[in-house]
């Protein structure tokens, strides 16, 4: 039976639309949950966004976390966090410098003190972000998210109809909210890299929506009189094998990075995998239902598939 694709039935007859009300409830619950987590737990903002310092150290023997913590208390790193990281002799220290002291000098002083207390300690990575820059990074990051979503809305509006664009944007917002909720719930660090991951999630999710819409538009032209719900079901069933294969390829591709990417890539990759799953789901159960509820203009689209068609 090789190639395996032959095992897949030629046609699927799954009633996607029938499940839409339940999916709507599920989405609403998930979004509410994300909101609750977001507002109660908040995001674990990295120093990129709140300013402060991070030092990754390697001690000679196994890292004595308690002693590291005690030393940090003494040398005046404010609300210092000490965590073991990677191997037994690795640890990561996060702290803020008292106001009025240059954060860079503060970090230097702590490095000097740590060298005294822990002979043979090495500093693998030192990051210091001043409060001014962190504010700008945060602003730039969220600005990027907003601009990206807006431009994609414009593009989809230009290529399809306005309701497609809105369906896509609502779907993308759904994905972003759930991803933020996931990040808040898991307490993964939210840094500039997470913004990149979110943008990638947005890109992938839009990608899914475009492909969904493309098939829908084509079938709307083909079956001019069939009810919209039937056309949607038909399109999704036609597309189902592709959705399954692409989704599993993407997750499979990232699997290596999940297990071997180490602590730096992990938050990024987890966000991406989560986004792939959510983005695929929201294409079918957020974007399409919105189009279904709103309705589409039909019959006035010329049958030439290749010309871009602006909404009227």
């Amino acid at each position: 039976m090789w190639p395996l694709i032959r095992i897949l039935p030629r046609e699927f007859h799954f009633n996607f639309v029938r499940l839409a009300p339940y999916a709507a409830i599920l989405s609403a619950l998930l979004i509410a949950g994300s909101g609750v987590s977001f507002f109660t737990k908040g995001l674990n903002l990295g120093i990129d966004f709140i300013g402060g310092s991070m030092i990754e150290v390697q001690t000679k023997g196994p890292a004595d976390i308690a002693k590291l913590r005690a030393t940090m208390m003494q040398v005046g790193g404010e609300d210092a966090q000490v965590q073991q990281m990677g191997a037994a002799n690795g640890a990561v220290l996060r702290f803020r410098t008292a106001e009025g002291v240059s954060p860079v000098d503060g970090a230097e002083r702590i490095k000097t003190e740590l060298s005294k207390e822990f002979p043979g300690i090495t500093f693998k990575k030192v990051e210091v972000v001043g409060p001014k820059v962190s504010g700008e990074l945060m602003q730039g990051g969220f600005m990027a998210l907003g601009v990206a979503v807006f431009l994609m809305l414009l593009y989809i509006w230009f290529r399809f109809q306005l309701q497609f664009g809105l369906g896509a944007v609502v779907g993308v917002f759904h994905d972003v909210l759930l991803t933020l909720g996931m990040l808040s719930l898991t307490h993964l660090e939210f840094s500039m890299t997470s913004i990149a991951a979110l943008l990638t999630v947005i890109g992938y999710s839009m990608n899914e929506k475009v492909i969904t819409f493309d098939r829908l538009r084509e079938n709307l032209r083909k079956y001019k009189t069939a009810p919209l719900a039937d056309v949607i079901n038909r399109s999704e069933n036609e597309r189902l094998s592709r959705t399954l294969i692409t989704g599993s390829t993407a997750i499979l591709a990232l699997s290596g990075a999940v297990f071997f990417g180490g602590p730096v890539l992990l938050p990024l990759v987890i966000t991406m995998v989560f986004g792939i799953v959510v983005g695929t789901y929201s294409s079918i159960y957020v974007a399409l239902p919105i189009i279904l509820l709103w309705g589409v203009k039909r019959g006035d689209e010329p049958a030439e598939p290749l010309k871009p068609q602006a909404a009227r």
Binding site: W2, V147, T200, G256
Partner: protein, 533 residues
Amino acid sequence: MMNLSRWKVIAVVLSAIFGVLFTLPNLLPADVRDSLPGFMPKQTLNLGLDLQGGSHLLLEVDTAALKRERLTNLVEDTRTTLREAQIPFAELREVNGEVSVLINDPAQANTAVNKLRASVAGVAPGAPGGREISISNDGGGRIRLSLSQDAMTAEAGRAVDQSIEILRRRIDELGTKEPTIVRQGVDRIVVQAPGESDPQRLRDVIGQTAKLTFQMVDESVSLEEAAAGRVPPGSELLPSEDGYTSMVLVKKRALVTGEMLTDAQQSFDQQSGQPVVSFRFNSQGARRFGEATAVNIGKRFAIVLDGKVISAPVIQSAITGGSGQISGSFTPQSANDLAILLRAGALPAPLKVEQQSTVGAELGADAVKAGVISLAIGGVAIIIFIILAYGLFGVFAAIALVVNVLLILGIMSFTQATLTFPGIAGLILTLAVAVDANVLIYERIRDEAHAGRSPISALEHGYSRALVSILDANITSAISALIMFQFGSGPIRGFAWTLLIGVVTSVFTAVVITQVLIGLWFRVKRPKALPIV
């Protein structure tokens, strides 16, 4: 769509050659790479600091300090001008970013304004379109001098340019490998130094203004009296690092300044053997220093660096040779660093470190290893999966995928775009999305075949129909990559660039390469049915 036009085949062959040729240097050991013939590309991937280790510093020129200094000078200039014009005045001081002075006899105010206009406003000729300093007179004898915003902006701009130049000289002398020093925005400078083993030293060299002055020590009052607040006018109490006292009282007027140095070198004192910095004055500096030392034999002068006294020796005899040495509590390295700073010149304004990131080379190497393993596992997993799913067509897609990776790495090596650690994750996802293009095409071909089309017609329609979706989808991806590039910084930009290159090469390889391969296969085999149907 399926007819094999010559240019398509040529494009596929050329792209594969390009990919191999430009990726190859990354796989060869350095000595083999160097012995390649001249026409072969030798550039390797430009790894980001997070992959090769190094330091990244974001500095801000302290323009507020620049303005304060300008105002202080303006106060002194105003004082001198009015004294020379013999106009009595009072209440000369800085108020709210302006200089304010009260002329005792309001009738003289106009004369004073004219005098000031001629001298003070002429000190720095105004920028085009306006005077740098505006002078107003309220009629009651009160005169205000303020610096125009344009002039300050222009001066800040000059200060940033000058700072970049001076930083470059300083860092080059440290022997740092390929540092990049670029301006960012209005008043910021980014310094990147790959592989710098001692970021502390880099920061020391950057962080000091290195403003050097020679000032007389004021011995008219004792240190205790001065510390109790009785500092004579025209003198100031400065912290000292000479190892004898913690403070030194010095006269404000500088005898000689660091700009009058022509050379500075680290050497050793001939008597004590201690590391010192020996220097040479230019002719103006030599003359001034000679005159000052000749009349002050037996008194002390202070060598002041960035507001701290480094030593305060007693003048034994007039120093007219135009050279001398600075001794202090130096190590050979710190003496050498000071010499570097003095040679490169003082920064026009202090630099504040706003952001610093230092990655050890070892951590970078670990990241490269983790990235390569992740990429290899991801790539192999995709290839196995796609071949299992689509058989021969899967093999074609896998070939396209390999060429895609080679092209991305080749283009990144060729353009010297920076590959960062998050960029590797971007690369992996790019591969998945590239395969999606093939999945779309193959599924479309299956649909068309199931609908009863002949193999050639199914192929034809599969490619042309899927292409629309593929382009739409990839344009949205390109939009998000461009946005990241525009708004992101550092590692994010690298990530965005990797995505953007990937979008372009993916569309090409997934569509054109598989099309050519399937076309060739079809021409040879003339199959009755497609293997994926």
